[in-house]
Structure formats: C-alpha cells, structure tokens
Symmetry: none
Subunit: 212 residues, 4 copies
C-alpha cells in the first residue's frame, strides 16, 4: 500500500547518510501525486474558482490536513500543479529577427493557450495583482525566465545589425505577452499563424528603425 523507496519514481538506492534525510515518517509520495492529479483534473473541469481545497481532498482521497501541510493555499497548490504547463523550453534561434519573433510569439501562444493555462491564468493573475509576495514567488518558479529570451533574440539581431543598441528586451517581452494575453483571454480570439506573422512584422519593423 505504501510506495517503497525502490519503486515508482525513485530508481536510485537510498543513501544511508543523506543529510537531507529527516527523522519521522517520510512524506507519502503517492498522496502527493494524487493531490496534484486531483488538482489538475478539478481545475480543468471547473476552472479556477471551481477549484477548492475540499474538492481536491475529496477527489484525491486525502485529508485536508495533508494538503495544508505542504501548500498554504490553493494558489500555492496550483503553482506547483501547473508549473510544467507554464514553463517554456529555450528556443532554437533562426536566421532572422522575424523568425525569432514568430518563435517567441508562437511559444507564448502555446503556453497561454494550453488547456491548463487557459483555465488558470486569468484567475492566477488576479490573485497576483492583489498579492505582491505571491507574484514574486510565482515569477521565480519558472525555469526559463521569459525576459532572457527576448534579450538574447535582440542580442542576436544586434549582431546582425538589424536593430541598434537600445535595450527593448523588457518592452518586447511585455508587448508579446500582452497582446497574446489580451487576444486570448479578453477577446477570446483564435490566433492563426498569419496573425503571428503580422504581429512579428509590426514588432520587428518597429524595433528596426530608430529614426523619428
């Protein structure tokens, strides 16, 4: 009934003198997994507001206490649950700024339009807007900081002499994320590849020229 150390995800032998080992009963990985799965299922079914700790506990067959022991509220729980859905892999650079921008837009769209993000993002942002600590905690959770990508993209463009030295990385990031978010979650618009090309074109041309 209990997961042994040798089964499931743990393929390594347990080190007898592991400093991270604590006294007391170890955390039940199975319960942990069930909770995350229940959270995923519930939020996809009923949305951000329909997700409740009680519902997760019921669904996972777990005591509420066990949830509260590891996550302090439902947003904290969601953060871990959808971390993967909101993470982004580094992009392969293309030969042109246009190509890189389309790549960034495409990834942003893929992330924000994922089933999980679609259900969760607006609610999550609302909470983050009211809770500054939460916002910071959330930002620091994603492996690939989105700001870094735009920075590298512009760096490469600068090498190719496509743009000048102005550092628009942050602004570019905000415009990409902003337009995708607005279309997706405010206007509920489909966004085609052609749309992405057009947006990338506007951004690229806008960044290219420094002339007044």
């Amino acid at each position: 009934m209990q997961s042994h150390p040798t089964d499931s995800t743990r393929s390594t032998e347990k080190p007898p003198t592991d400093p991270t080992r604590h006294v007391g009963r170890p955390r039940d990985e199975r319960a942990h997994r069930l909770i995350l799965e229940a959270t995923t299922a519930l939020v996809l079914e009923r949305g951000f507001d329909g997700l409740t700790i009680e519902g997760v506990a019921r669904r996972a067959g777990v005591a509420k206490t066990t949830i509260y022991r590891w996550w302090k509220n439902k947003v904290d729980l969601l953060a871990e649950t959808c971390a993967q859905d909101l993470s982004r892999a580094p992009l392969d650079p293309t030969e042109s700024l246009q190509g890189d921008l389309v790549g960034l837009l495409r990834q942003e769209l893929a992330v924000q339009a994922s089933p999980m993000a679609h259900k969760v993002l607006p609610g999550l942002m609302a909470r983050m807007a009211e809770d500054d600590a939460l916002r910071k905690a959330f930002e620091s959770r994603f492996p690939i900081a989105p700001g870094a990508c735009t920075h590298k993209t512009l760096e490469r463009a600068r090498v190719r002499d496509e743009v000048d030295g102005t550092d628009d990385a942050a602004l570019l990031r905000e415009m990409i994320a902003g337009v995708v978010f607005w279309r997706l979650h405010v206007c509920h618009l489909e966004t085609s590849e052609t749309d992405l090309q057009r947006i990338a074109q506007v951004l690229r041309t806008g960044l290219e020229r420094e002339s007044s």
Copy 2:
C-alpha cells in the same frame, strides 16, 4: 449618455401621463446610491475578492435583498459601480499618427491605472474569462467602444498616407491594451511618458511600413 433636447426632465404640465412613472413603490434612489458608494469604498479597501454582498449591505445599511433585487451578483454590481471609471471619452485627434498613438496609450493607461480599475480589472477579467455571457454584457456597457478609436486613428493616418490600407485597427487595439495591462497588472511597472512615446514609436513604425 447624450442628453437630447427633448430628453431629461421636462417641465410639462402633464404629470398623469409620465411614461417613466411606474406603479408600485418607487425605487429608493438613496439606497441605490448608498449601495454604489459602499461598493466603491469596499472594493478600494479590500480589493475584488474582499468585496462581498454582505459587506456592501452592512456598510450601506441596506438589506441584502435590496441588492439582489437590482444586481444579480457582485460582478453585476461592480459593473455599474465602476462603469464611469472604465469609460473613456473620445480623443481629440492630433496632427500625426505618433501623437494619436500616444494619446490612445495615455488614455488606456489612465483608465487601467485608475484606483478602481487597478483593484478591479484583473479580478473582473478572470470572471469574464470563465463566463462568456458576462464578458459580452460587460463589453456592451461602455459608451465609447475602444476599437472604434483605433479605427479612426488609422483612418486619419491613411488619409495622411502614413500607413497603407491594411486594417490593423483591432490588432492595434489589442497591442495597446495588452502591453498596458501586462505592465500594469502583471509586472507592476510604472509607465512614464517616455515609455509611452517609445511604445507609440514602435507601433507607429511597425504599422507604417508594409515592406517585408
């Protein structure tokens, strides 16, 4: 909210046939006002999630049923409460696309950064994202449709031959609203006049040139 000459309260000498007069006890305008004031105060104090119907009733010294009689939930109540804060007056056109874009951005910032909108917008959007009917009801509430402004702006620019014939009004609207929203409510960034100028420049240049 145009006041036609024939509209408003006419001092005619025909009180018995007043079309606005209904049978039954008339609505208590004072209670109505108290409720809206309490809503405003509460949402500014405690934010979107801290706003409850019970709290409003308590604060306004009004029965809960009186609130439910006129508004079906707290979003509906908020919609009326912050309608003014979220409305926008038509903008005076300037001589250049750059000037018009800065004007649009400035207005968007002013609206989204107003104390009320700042507290309310993210939460409101989260609800709208989950409830399609609500979204439509909310959109139709504001007198000046934001999409119309960008359309006119681009129309004027086209007359001046600053842009070609592509209809980017909707996209422009989304980019303006998106970047302002993202900076304001996701990144919690201040946005200076210089920032607005830079954003407008990027957008203008991006829209100007149609060459690939």
Copy 3:
C-alpha cells in the same frame, strides 16, 4: 354587493349613516373570494406550514397588502377560510344518552377528520397554545359552541334519570374532543363506527353511575 351588518362574521361595524354605503372604492368581493379559495387550495396542498401569505397572494393574483388589510396574519386568514369546515350544526336528539353520545362523537370525528381540519387543526392549535388572544378569538368564531351540545345532552339524560345532577358537560366535551383528536392527529388511527360505540359506552357508563 356590499356586505350588510348581518352578513357573515364581520357584524360588529356599524356605520352611522347608511349601513350599506361607504365612501371610496368598495371592497372587491372577487379578490376576497379569490384569496379564500387560494388559501383553501394551498393549505390542502401544502399543509399548515406550507401556507404562506406570499403564496396566497401569488396564487390569487392579488397584492399582499390586500390580504394584510383584511387579515392580520395567516392564522386569522385561515380562521375565516376554514370556519365552515370547523362549524357544526345542532344535532337531532335521540331517545338515549348512548345515542346522543355517539352522535356527538360522530360529529366531532367528522369535523376533525375533514380534509381541511386534518391539515389545519394541529398547526392551529399550536399557535393558539402560544397566543391566548388568538385562542379566544378563534373559539368565539364558531356558531355552535360545542360545550352547549354536551350540556343539552346531559340535561336530557337527567330528565330521563340516566345521570344524576353533577355537571359534567365541560368534562364530557373535553373527553370527546380529546380522544378524537388524539386518535386522529397523534396516532393517525382510523376510527370505525364500532369504535365510536365503544367510546360512547365507556363514557355513558362512566357518567351514569355515581356509585363509589
């Protein structure tokens, strides 16, 4: 159309001038009737607790005010509604005390077991038990005071020398009403003619003999 002083239950008002003429809009007898009908229907459908002023108003298509103008609460309304169901005609005397007692019991059963009384009596009594004024008002509403019947019955029996001079009229009335009520509303028992005969026999024999 107008109710004159000798009509129905409301006979206490005496207009100083013309008894049949009042100033202002006359009472709408149709509404009055609709209210009573709606009351009857509702109480039979949903029982005493299921009967509400709001429900009556809804069903009768009448304003609540109109009900409250004429009846001060639902018990008062019920009193008028079921007055007929709870009233009893004078009984024809028989040749024996036994026969008279069976008659009294039979009538009591008929009254308390009527569809209306069956729904209403327990609830009504509960209210009367808590509200003394109500109890008196209710008692005075029925044309044939039940106590009088038992009195006459015993009087006749005394003439026939079946009982002695002790005045047991009130007690007899209470025993008859009590046993019928208890069987009907507490035990939910059917009561056959044989049962009535047996009860009458016990009562008669009990009253007949004065021996120690």
Copy 4:
C-alpha cells in the same frame, strides 16, 4: 450516557479499550451540552416558533454548522433536548383500578404540563402530524411506552376481576392522553386532584361494566 461526571470541559482520563472511540477529532461534549442548554433556554423563553437554529448558535456561542452536523433540523434538536422532560418512569401499582388510573392521569398531567412540554408539545405535534417519519422517530425515543402502562393496569384489574377481558388498553391510553392534552393545551384549564379523581372515576366505571 456516561455515568461518570463529565463536569469539566475535557476529561483527561483515557479509556484504553473504548469501543465507542472513533477516528477523527472527537466530538466536543462541551459544545454539545451548550447547544442543548441554549435550546432549552430559548424554547422556554420564546416558545416553539421562537426557537431558531441561528438563535441557538448565537446563544451557545457555537457555529451553526456544528448544530447542523448533529441535528438535521430544529425538531430533531428539540427531540433530544426535551427527551428527558417527556419521558416517564414506571408507576408503582396501587391496590385498585381507581388508584392506578389516577396515577396514570397524574403522570400524564405532570409530563404534559412540565414547562418544557407546555411550550413544545403543541408545536411538536403539529409537525408530527405533517411528517409521518418524524412521528415514528419521535415515538421510539421515549423509554417507557405509555401504551404498556395502561395495558399492565388493565391486566391487574382483570386479575382483581374489576374488568372483563376486552382489551381497552390502547383506548384507555388515548382517552387519558387526549383529555389531559385538550384541557391543558386547548382549553388552558387548571386540573386539580379532584378533577383527576373524577376523570378516573368516569373511566373506571366505564370500563368496569360491559353490560349495555
């Protein structure tokens, strides 16, 4: 019912082999007691209709949910609250049917006239009359079934040859309870010892003779 005094808030003694011990946080006996006390106080002050769950919760300093966890409505709560007041101990037999009947009547009067019963009985009966399940649940709650008493009483009288073999136990029970109830709750009459003697006499004599 624990026999040991649980006067303090939490008994520190731990029974090692208590079969009634369940998993989860144990029921707070103090809250339980406070609720019953508040119920008693409220119903005596304000009567059956004045008793509300909210009122009990307020008075007991307890959450409403705690009440609803254990009792499904106010009648269920009352049932436990006044179980003691409505229970009756077995009666000591006397030497005569007359004496036994007076004893039964006296007990019936004592029970129905107790402060609690006086406030509660009519309302309770009204509810029972409308809800059959409730009636049965309520009947099964009292330790000494009243019907059994009358049965034994008549049995003893039969042995003494005071009555014949007809089984009038149920009828006797109904007549006793009925007349006491009617006098007490419908007529609001005081009932003296002499009254009881007279009623007992009527009943005894009525039951004694089987000849018409």
